[in-house]
C-alpha cells in the first residue's frame, strides 16, 4: 500500500501559511503524539488530556507519475479529555485520472473534544472513495464538516457509532457539482446507548449535469432512550439537468426519543432574485449571494474564523466558476 504526502502546517491557526515546504520525500510531522512511518497507516494519536493548540493540517496530494490506483489508511485517535483540531485537504495536481480509496478511522475517547474538517478539491479525472469509521465514547464531542468542492466522483461513506452516554456528534457537509460530477454521501449513524445527541446538516448546490446522492440512516437501538437525533439534507438545483437524490431513513427502536429529519430539493427563489435586481445587484451576483447564503449554513459550523473565511472564499470562487485555490498555502493547493 502506497501513501500520499502529508504536511503538517504549524502556522495554520494563525495565518494559514505553510512554512514547511512540500517535502520531496514523504515526511510526517507530529503534534503531541506519535506517527508510525513506513508502509503503515498514518497514525495520529493525541494522548490523554493533550490539547492541540494549533490546528493540524493534513494535505493528501495526488500528483502525476504515481500509480493511478492508490489506497491508504489514516487513523486518528483522541485520548480521554483530549482536544483535537484537524483539517484534512485532498487535492490532485494533474488532470490524469486517479482512483483513490481511503479509509479513515476517528476514535474519540471519553470527554474528548474534536473538530475535524475535510476539504476535497480534486480534478474531474479523480475518483475518490473514502470510508470513515467514527466512534465516540461517553461525553465525547465531535464537530465534523465536509466540504466537497470539486472532483469527478466523490464518495464519502460515513459510519458513526455513539457508544458512550452523552456523546455529541455534529456532522455537516457541503457538496458542489457541475459538469458531469457525481457526489455521493452515505451516512450511517447509530445511537448505541442512551442520552446521546446527533445532528446532521448536508447541503448541495448542483449545476449542469451534476448528480448528488445523500443516503442518511439514523438508527436508535432499543435501549438508547433520551436520544436526540436530527438530520437535514437540502439541495439547490441550478440547472434543469442536475439531479439530487435524497434518502433519509430513521430506524428507531427506543420510544423516549426526539428524532427528526427533513429533505428538500429546490431552486433559487425568484422573488428574492427580483428583489435584489431591483436594487441594482446584477443577476449573476444576486444568484451568487443566494448560493452563498445557502452554503453558509454549513460553512458557519467551522469554528475558527480564519479557516471559515478561507473556506468561504474557496466556496465562493468555486461557485463563480473560478479556479479555487487559496493563496498563501504551500503549492497554492488549498
Amino acid at each position: 500500500m502506497t501513501k500520499p504526502d502529508f504536511i503538517y502546517a504549524p502556522s495554520l491557526k494563525k495565518e494559514f501559511r505553510c512554512k514547511v515546504p512540500l517535502p520531496d520525500t514523504r515526511q510526517l510531522f507530529v503534534v503531541n503524539g506519535t506517527v508510525q512511518g513506513g508502509g503503515a497507516p498514518l497514525d495520529i494519536r493525541i494522548g490523554e488530556g493533550e490539547r492541540m493548540e494549533r490546528m493540524l493540517q493534513i494535505i493528501d496530494v495526488r500528483d502525476s507519475g504515481r500509480s493511478n490506483e492508490l489506497s491508504y489508511c489514516e487513523n486518528f485517535n483522541f485520548g480521554k479529555g483530549a482536544l483535537g483540531r484537524i483539517v484534512k485537504c485532498s487535492h490532485t495536481f494533474s488532470l490524469d485520472s486517479f482512483r483513490t480509496k481511503e479509509k479513515v478511522t476517528i476514535s474519540l475517547g471519553e470527554d474528548s473534544d474534536v473538530e475535524f474538517i475535510v476539504m476535497q478539491n480534486e480534478h474531474n479525472g479523480a475518483e475518490h472513495d473514502t470510508s470513515y469509521e467514527i466512534k465516540l465514547e461517553s461525553g465525547a464531542r465531535l464537530n465534523m464538516v465536509f466540504l466537497s468542492l470539486h472532483g469527478g466522483v466523490v464518495r464519502n461513506n460515513v459510519k458513526v457509532s455513539l457508544c458512550g452516554p452523552h456523546a455529541d456528534c455534529n456532522l455537516s457537509g457541503l457538496y458542489l457539482t457541475d459538469g458531469e460530477q457525481l457526489m455521493d454521501y452515505s451516512v450511517d449513524l447509530v445511537h448505541e446507548v442512551p442520552e446521546c445527541r446527533s445532528a446532521q446538516m448536508f447541503k448541495g448546490v448542483l449545476d449542469d449535469r451534476g448528480v448528488a446522492h445523500f443516503n442518511g440512516l439514523i438508527k436508535v437501538v432499543p435501549d438508547a432512550q433520551k436520544t436526540e437525533a436530527f438530520q437535514a439534507n437540502h439541495n439547490l438545483l441550478l440547472s434543469d439537468s442536475s439531479r439530487a437524490y435524497s434518502k433519509p431513513q430513521l430506524e428507531i427502536y427506543a420510544d423516549d426519543v426526539k428524532c427528526s429529519h427533513g429533505a428538500t430539493v429546490g431552486r433559487l427563489n425568484e422573488d428574492e432574485l427580483f428583489y435584489m435586481r431591483t436594487r441594482g445587484i446584477p443577476v449573476r451576483e444576486a444568484r451568487l449571494l443566494q448560493q452563498m447564503a445557502f452554503a453558509n449554513e454549513v460553512l458557519e459550523k467551522i469554528s475558527s474564523r480564519e479557516l471559515r473565511e478561507r473556506m468561504a472564499s474557496l466556496t465562493e470562487k468555486r461557485l463563480r466558476g473560478e479556479f479555487a485555490h487559496c493563496r498563501n498555502c504551500s503549492r497554492n493547493c488549498c
Binding site: 427580483f274 431591483t278 443566494q290
Partner: protein, 252 residues
Amino acid sequence: MDAMLKITDLHASVGEKEILKGINLEIRPGEVHAIMGPNGSGKSTLSAVLAGKETFTVTSGEILFEGRDLLAMSPEERSWAGVFLGFQYPVEIPGVSNVNFIKAAVAEHRAQRGLPALSAAEFLKQMREKMAYVEMDSSFSSRGVNVGFSGGEKKRNEIFQMAMLDPKLAILDETDSGLDVDALRIVATGVNRMKRPDNAAIVITHYQRLLDYIIPDVIHVLYKGRIIMTAGKELALEIEKKGYDWIINDKA
C-alpha cells in the same frame, strides 16, 4: 419640461389574463403622483412592470424613462438608471445580511456610474446617516434582509434602501400600509427629505393620511387596469369619505 417618465397605452397580462388595459401617465421631474384605487385594480402590477418583473408580459404600449426605452432594460439596469421600487411586500432573504445586501447594491451603482468604491468608513458613515433618517436601529444591519422584521420595520428598510441608492424616480407601493402613526410620520419624513426638483415619486396608497405628509401634485384613480380619474390632492379626502363607487359609476 420633458417628462421623466412617459407611459403610453400600456397593456400587460399574466398568462391569458389582461391586468393593465391601456395606462397613460406622464411624470415630470419634481412631481409627486399618487395612485389610488380599489384592491386588485392593478397598482402593484403597474409598479412591478415599471421595475421589470418578468411574471408580467407587456403586450403593447411603451414606457420611456428619460427618453430611454425602459421595457428593453433588465431590472438591474433600471435600478442603475434611477428607478426604485419600494415593495408592498418586501422580500425576506435569509442568509444575506442587510449590510452586505446594501453594500453590494451601492457598490454596483457606483461602479455603473464610473465612481470609485466607497471606503469602508465612508460606507458605514452613509449607512448610519441614512438609517437615522428612518430611525432604524443599527442592530438591523447584521440581520438577514427583512428576515423576521415586523411589517413596519420592513417598510422602513425600503425607505432606508431608497435613501442609500438615491433614485430619480421612487415608486412606493403602499409604503404606509401596516404602519402605526409614528412609523408613518418617520417614513413620510424620510421620503420628504429626499425630495428634490430633479427627482420624482409615484406614491401608491389607500389612505388619505399618508398624503397629509407627502403632498401629491396629482392623484390618479386606477380601476380594472385603467386610470379612470386624475385630479388634485383634494380627491383623496373625497375618496376617504365616499369610497370609489361614485367615480366608478360615473365612468360606467
